[in-house]
Amino acid sequence: MSILDLFKRRTSAPVARERLQVLLAYERRSRGQPDLVSVLREEILAVIAKHVQIDQDYIQVSMDRGETMSTLEIDIQIPNKSAVPLAMAG
């Protein structure tokens, strides 16, 4: 870090813009979908969180609607670091 950096203040507006763009892209995608997916996502997250520490960013639930059949895709990533059962960790 140079001396000059001490005087430079990082501006926060570009960070705000970027965070909003990412968030809204996600929210707009999920807007048209039925609430079922978000309900499932919350409940699955709650069940897993009972046993393993998990961040909600690590769970993806999506629904592919077909003519006669729909596919529910659930992708859960459990980071190794926190993959310790709560009872043992406590």
């Binding site: 203040r9 926060s12 507006a13 813009r17 909003l20």
Partner: protein, 271 residues
């Protein structure tokens, strides 16, 4: 047939009521007949901002329930004879408004007035949805701040899905009104810029209202800022926004703050 404009935002405290009063008064000043309808049942405030709080006898819920006539509930402004207010009730019953009732009141107001401004409650629940339900146009009040922009995006989604016009496959005109804009902070990159807000929401800009003590003073006095202090910066911005709402092609000038000496010295950059 008058035009119905909903003033909405999702987030509370961004300036919906203040903007409804200021825009409505600005349009009424041009001789158009304007009705301001407060949809915030249980938490009405438009009467207070308009300085008519002691003149409320009947309200929107009374009209819908048939206990008062529309003409009895409408309050004429003391300053402008073309400006009227239909207050919300202070009842705690959230279901006091029915869709059929609102439809009828709006239809009747449309026949008499050139403009009907619906001041939406905060949130995305029933009250907010009823306020936008019969709108032809929407003014989305947004502060240049992350939570307000996110909520505005949500409201835009609702406008495109839940309004009568949207359901009938018609277009609902939307405008963003940026309020509480602080040019100095935006120049220092501490606040979302107008370009940021417009790029994210992709809705055309109706106006930029600078952060101003005059707006607060106008609220204290119970007068729309466009009537009480029409030469102030915020009032001018509202008057121009009202002209754009009426279809005038008036360029928006972003309030500009020259960089201070200290900012240059410290190399602070605008975003």
């Amino acid at each position: 047939m008058g035009k119905v404009v909903v003033v909405t935002s999702g987030k509370g405290g961004v300036g919906k009521t203040t903007s409804t009063a200021a825009l409505g008064a600005a349009v009424a000043k041009t001789g158009k007949r304007v009705a301001l309808v407060d949809f915030d049942v249980g938490l009405r405030n438009l009467d207070l901002i308009m300085g008519a709080e002691r003149r409320v006898v009947f309200d929107l819920v009374n009209v819908i329930q048939g206990t008062a006539k529309l003409s009895q509930a409408l309050i004429r402004d003391k300053r402008l004879e073309t400006l009227y207010l239909l207050p919300a009730s202070q009842t705690r019953d959230k279901d006091a408004l029915t869709e059929e009732g609102v439809a009828e009141v709006i239809a009747r107001l449309r026949q008499v007035f050139d403009y009907v401004f619906c001041d939406s409650p905060a949130g995305i629940e029933r009250g907010a949805q009823l306020a936008m339900r019969f709108a032809d146009e929407a003014v989305i009040v947004t502060n240049p701040e992350v939570s307000s922009v996110r909520d505005s995006d949500r409201i835009i989604g609702l406008l495109d899905a839940r309004t009568m016009r949207a359901e009938q496959g018609e277009h609902i005109a939307k405008h963003v009104l940026v309020t509480r804009y602080d040019a100095a902070r935006a120049a220092r990159g501490e606040m979302l810029s107008i370009d940021d807000v417009l790029e994210i929401l992709s809705v055309p800009l109706l106006g930029i209202i600078p952060e101003s003590q005059d707006v607060l003073r106008a609220s204290n006095l119970g007068a729309p800022v466009t009537l009480s202090e029409p030469t102030n910066a915020a009032a001018k911005a509202y008057l121009e926004a009202a002209r754009r709402l009426e279809g005038e092609d008036l360029p928006v000038i972003v309030p500009f703050e020259r960089k201070g000496f200290l900012d240059r010295l410290l190399g602070r950059r605008a975003a």
